[in-house]
Symmetry: C2
Subunit: 595 residues, 2 copies
């Protein structure tokens, strides 16, 4: 996938990555896989069974978590993408993500500590002052500190414009501090992952808050939001911990369905004098800055969902290859064999395994494709940068939502392959299913992603991103049609569904259709996602056919998974799109008292 | 639904139900709902949090369970369907099921105790000797004893022909016992729900085992299976408990994803001298007898899944009506209102609620329709009996599988409506989702149901059941087309999909298509199920239109839910059927080493 499809080797000719070659990149991935398997894997059931406990105002995690996170940090991966001069590895992003993916595979919730810490530090490195980077970002990249994002409040979950956390300038000289303009923060934050523990020397919170005007009123809407870095323990002007706790109280923990290796908390800022925080960027820029990192976080959610899909698929495959049950039978009911069959031989089990392969490897292709775009956005030439930026804008809601929905389905199939055994804690698949259920919710729910796609992304700049992407799909289609005749029927099928999507997109952009289309935003996104995955599957198989030296079973497996997707999944897209095309108003006209 | 659609009042003119009228039936349902809400409802989270504990060879359940089950038994519902002379109520089955459904609504896993006990006693009442009825069935109907079904073994889950539990005649005079031919049972049973506890005075196990031949060899296959009643504590010839424990050991408990109010156990029979059991019916009849009750159990599974779907829908609806979040916006992004909207006002939330209504009420219609058929099978005239028997054969796999799959989807949508809150234990929806996940597995997995439908039910007697059902659907279609013109487009859509199903069914019955069709048995069953539900929705709405006196919101809601199903769900069926129609061989030709 990396080299024969995504041409990752091309990156090693770019100045930033000149130190790398395929051999080194491979060894980084191998080492990551090994550390993840050894340090995260054995803990994954324990952290589920012993969910974080709220004791004396702290979140207590099981023994072993601290060691596992230390090993993660020691791998150097937290800083992998950053410059060598700050201790980074200058690793291409697609390799960076692939290396992290092994940690997600072995424990999605433990890997979330690293994900949040990286995201936090990345934001500070991009938007923080030099002093803020030194005091708050570098210790995170080294694994000494960890990070959180504090957005939601009880009355403001998805609706961030309604936050009421206040940031008041800390005295007349509040601008005179080395670490940035200093404020006192007061407010309650909810759904904060990775807070309240003592696994690292310090926890750095990135907090959205509003600065009141001269009358004490908070500015309205999202444009009034500013961003602050708020350390758990205070840091002095030499960037050293001074040991004094900030005014932050862990008010409680959420008891979650899954994803239990990382505490999810309620935090009270400023119950006493106000928590000390330093503004990042300008007042009112908070949400814009936060969204910069949210976009990468969303691709990471997709990656985690894809790896949970993979984990379930591998577990189900292993079980199906060894468990014997039932007989293969002829039409008249007679047994074809005296011995019980391994269940992988039963057609319905094979179907469920092929579905999992098709869904989880399709999801993985999507997130790696997006990660590769991030590399072009960062280090490509101007044309590549523009293309990558625009495509990423469009594909981010898909990269977040599609794996979340369909790898959850794959996890349900993994349970089904194991039957009763899959419903017990003796096997990991039920946990994967519970863990994965979060991914359609956090970092913007499915509905939010769908609205973002339908009401914003496809409309921006007169559909610039959408039509650029259409051209990409058509490049694959025509390449398949001309150079690989065996792929022609699939190319034709894809072109047909693409045309249908284009027609639906144009229709949904008509003013008169706005409300109706919005009621079908999720089916629209589902159709869009299925067409994206079909395109990527076709492109992967095109690459596979171009490389006859690859292992024959690997090649055949990729082709079968692609065919499965075109036969069993892609046809759904036309049905979803029809809801808008046929102007179905059932949802829109549903009255509340009819429920 | 009961009176205006299913004509339940007709039943009260039948001799067996002559004591009932609508008022009495309604009051039975009201009382059942009240007891279930008061006694089961408050325990449902507790039993999930405190799963059964294995202590000193017993399964220990939380305080309160015994009282709740006593209240259930005191309601008289355990014996509701039986003759008055044995303490029953001679209640029509459709009312019996509806009364039980409230218990499933308030705690699916606690209601499973009653379900298993009823099923056990029903089997004994149908196939046991008078002495067996008196000793084992009546105390269950009175709630003093409870019951289990012991089918699976470690090497024989779905493949019951491979069980190795042995039943050896207990001495030369083994036939001379009042309670029936007496055997010593040895073997290990797994996945046994409702065993190992001390909530009732005794537990009656119905155990499948094989009687060895003169060489000590067990007969092969399912035809060698016999059925035994094996009490936990021995019973003397006067049907009284003699207090001596039988030779049965609780070897362990399964730790389940959900459905935790009832222990699921591993039982060892005959570790010492052999557990004493009495044969029911003839040797070799075991599976046939067991399947008699399995068919009703399967409809009950569907009912439980439907009620979980209902429970999630109600919880999501309540949340959506009160929770405020976000703003309704115009196309240019401006707010339509100053106050945050209640989330039910957001189109995507409304869509998810309507989907839940459509799926869970559709499922409920299906299981009630089947329960009504059971009444015709039991108390109808000869023509009605034949029709009901044949239709039930065909529809049982659908009644079991469709609610299990689609009300699970509804439960996932309930979580999604609540967002992050839905992912926590502060709300019940995550538990509904976990509880419901069992229903696609137990009492015959989804794949087993699909094979049963495709390889047996549609073929029996040259498709007698299938074509009888087709005629029923066409009766609804033509009645809608002639008397309710507003339903005509839906009738046409249904007729089109029905034709497609008929074509696919005929194709899949061709000898040359057997293996290919088997690989698509699950999609075939999904399509079949969707067409069944569409038919029932149309028929429900036809009945609603025939009763203009019904509440206007109720009528509008039913119509909207029907329209939703036809717009958003039914179109999937054509796609599923196409896999067989187009002879897609992707799954069939997948080789094991390509995974």
């Amino acid at each position: 996938m990396m080299y024969d499809w995504l041409n990752v080797e091309v990156l090693t000719s770019r100045a930033r990555y000149i130190a790398y070659n395929r051999e080194i990149l491979d060894s980084i991935l191998d080492v990551s896989e090994k550390i993840a398997a050894e340090k995260f894997g054995p803990l994954n059931r324990l952290i589920d069974q012993q969910e974080p406990a709220y004791i004396d105002g702290q979140a207590i995690l099981p023994d072993g978590v601290a060691d596992a996170l230390d090993a993660y940090a020691a791998s150097g991966l937290l800083a992998a993408g950053h410059d060598e001069e700050v201790g980074g590895m200058q690793l291409p992003y697609v390799i960076d993500m692939a290396a992290h993916s092994f940690f997600a595979l072995h424990s999605i919730s433990l890997s979330a500590f690293g994900m949040l810490t990286c995201a936090n530090a990345n934001l500070l490195m991009a938007y923080g002052s030099e002093a803020q980077k030194a005091a708050f970002a570098l210790p995170q990249l080294q694994g000494r500190y960890s990070g959180t994002m504090c957005l939601s409040e009880p009355q403001a979950g998805s609706s961030l414009g309604d936050i009421t956390t206040r940031a008041v300038p800390d005295g007349a000289n509040y601008q005179a501090h080395t670490l940035g303009p200093r404020y006192r923060i007061k407010g309650n934050k909810v759904w904060i992952s990775g807070a309240g523990h003592h696994l690292t020397d310090n926890i750095i919170h990135l907090v959205l808050a509003k600065i009141p005007d001269e009358n004490g009123d908070l500015p309205l809407g999202t444009k009034g939001i500013s961003l602050f870095v708020v350390p758990g323990f205070l840091v002095n002007e030499d960037s050293e911990l001074d040991g004094k706790p900030n005014d932050i109280v862990l008010a409680g923990l959420n008891h979650k369905l899954g994803y239990r290796g990382i505490p999810n908390t309620l935090l009270n800022f400023g119950d006493s004098a106000g928590a000390i925080g330093y503004r990042i960027g300008n007042a009112g820029q908070g949400l814009a800055i936060m969204f910069h990192m949210m976009n990468e976080a969303r691709i990471n959610i997709g990656m985690g969902a894809a790896m949970l899909g993979q984990a379930g698929y591998k577990a189900a495959l292993e079980y199906a290859r060894t468990r014997r049950q039932g007989y293969l039978r002829s039409m008249n009911g007679t047994r074809r064999d005296r011995q019980q069959a391994r269940i992988i031989e039963h057609a319905d089990v094979k179907r469920m395994l092929l579905a999992q392969k098709s869904l989880s490897e399709g999801a993985l292709a999507l997130v790696l494709y997006c990660a590769r775009l991030v590399d072009d956005k960062r280090t490509g030439g101007p044309v590549e940068q523009r293309r990558a930026t625009v495509l990423l804008e469009l594909l981010t809601p898909i990269a977040k939502s599609w794996p979340s929905e369909w790898c959850l389905e794959a996890n349900s199939l993994a349970i089904q392959v194991l039957g009763g055994a899959g419903y017990t804690r003796d096997f990991p698949v039920e946990q994967y299913w519970r863990d994965n259920r979060l991914n359609m919710i956090h970092e913007g729910t499915h509905g939010i992603q769908a609205t973002d796609l339908l009401a914003r992304k496809i409309r921006q700049n007169n559909g610039e991103a959408f039509y650029l992407w259409v051209a990409e799909v058509r490049r694959t289609v025509s390449s398949c049609a001309t150079t690989h005749t065996e792929l022609e029927p699939f190319a034709r099928q894809l072109e047909h569904d693409l045309s249908c999507l284009i027609e639906t997109t144009q229709k949904s952009c008509q003013d008169s259709m706005f409300d109706l289309a919005l009621a079908h935003a999720t089916p629209y996104m589902q159709a869009f996602g299925h067409i994206v995955i079909a395109w990527l599957w076709l492109d992967v198989v095109r690459a596979v056919l171009d490389h006859p030296g690859l292992d024959a079973s690997f090649r055949a497996g990729k082709q079968a998974a692609m065919k499965y997707f075109f036969a069993c999944e892609l046809p759904k897209s036309a049905h979803w799109l029809n809801l808008i095309l046929k102007e179905d108003a059932t949802v829109q006209t549903m009255a509340e008292d009819w429920f």
